[in-house]
Symmetry: C2
Subunit: 242 residues, 2 copies
């Protein structure tokens, strides 16, 4: 069973104040890159894994989707998602991605934003996602980048000649990483990029796109703080087809 | 046209003394991982891009391949490969991977070991490889890992609490990297892993396997120096199918 740190008052309070929680998709700098690779949503049935406040679920419906099911482990997030949504074709349920049973061959798109790095057995989740997709259905997801997750002491440091460096180590040592982010003791599971892609491939997916997200020139001009993202990616965007 | 540093006497002398040049495939710790994903070679026609001393070309023939063509920019390496080979079905030619014209739908396997990071226009090379493969033919290659190639100042450093770190930066800044390895001023081309895989995908390949190589427990026991490879991968192994 997954750690439910998300309902911890400190975590939830911090989460609620994130730019992407307040402003939704517009507050997530990777969103234009995700949007560019989404399949056509018209009349499609969509599953949003780790839906949080439901920003994507609502967007998908507003952009043609037929039905959306959003799942999240956090009661507080699901409550908030329900409050923010006024649409009979968007449903939210509390569910643990580590073990939720998904119906067979039902969805056209499984979407997930920054949730899979909290899942311990990714291979098992991939198997369930594959099964719940219709043939030719897509998975589009963002995951924390293993470069970001791997280090024993993540955080910027100063390298030779005062240049900013990301102190990478333990990249090939997979497993639990415990960090203090929004609350103390948040557990994530580090996997190499190879392990993540191979899980998708050997469960039957075809990899269609991999974007180790970095800001565009326009975004760098608007938000100079994003310059750090040029030094090491924080997340990756994957598109795969059943 | 590619930089021919390989025939520089200092580079060639250093290259000749590398474990993998002296002992061949057995001197390359990643070889067992490559061997595990090679397709059946029986009677297959193989192209070895950047064949060096021809170790793989000869191994492929000894393991069932029908014909092998090895290409390398270095005259000295091709001379040496020819000296070491006594087999009419193995041919070697001097060629620049940056622009060599490859015949259409001829090969069952294109193999390349640690050569593609010297190629400036990878997308163009991928197009030529795709074209020269027969339908369902494979590409199996190793490339320097972008984590290894990216930094402004590559080399181990000491991080917090004296722990070994790899000073990563500029990961998302693609392009030329000049390093001093075997000789001064060796030019390589850094591309993110996403860019490399997307080039393969949009040119028609299906990604079958990605291994960001790290040593096995047995290898670590035999060669403790390989422990560094657990902190950051030096190379990746890709298998893709036309």
């Amino acid at each position: 069973m997954a750690q439910n740190i998300y309902d911890d008052p400190t975590f939830f309070e911090g989460y609620s104040q994130l730019n992407r929680s307040v402003h939704g998709l517009a507050g997530a700098p990777e969103w234009p890159s995700i949007q560019a690779i989404l399949p056509d949503l018209t009349d499609k049935k969509i599953l949003d894994l780790g839906c949080g406040f439901g920003w994507f679920s609502r967007w998908a419906r507003a952009n043609g989707a037929g039905e959306v099911l959003g799942l999240d482990l956090s009661e507080k997030m699901i409550d908030r998602a329900k409050q923010e949504t006024n649409d009979d074709e968007v449903e939210y349920q509390i569910a643990d991605l580590d073990r939720v049973d998904l119906p067979e061959a039902v969805f056209d798109l499984v979407y997930s934003s920054l949730a899979f790095h909290y899942v311990e057995d990714f291979d098992d989740l991939v198997r369930r996602i594959y099964r719940t997709l219709r043939p030719q259905g897509h998975l589009v997801c963002t995951i924390e980048h293993p470069i970001f997750m791997a280090p024993v002491s993540p955080g910027w440091s100063e390298g030779k000649e005062g240049v900013r460096i990301w102190p990478l180590n333990q990249y090939s040592v997979e497993g639990k990483r415990t960090t203090n982010w929004l609350a103390d003791g948040v557990v994530k599971y580090h996997r190499t990029l190879g392990t993540t892609l191979n899980s998708l491939i050997h469960n039957g997916f075809r990899i269609e796109h991999l974007n180790e997200w970095s800001p565009s020139a326009e975004q760098l001009e608007e938000m100079p703080a994003l310059e750090e993202e040029m030094d090491r990616p924080m997340m990756m965007i994957i598109k795969a087809q059943r």
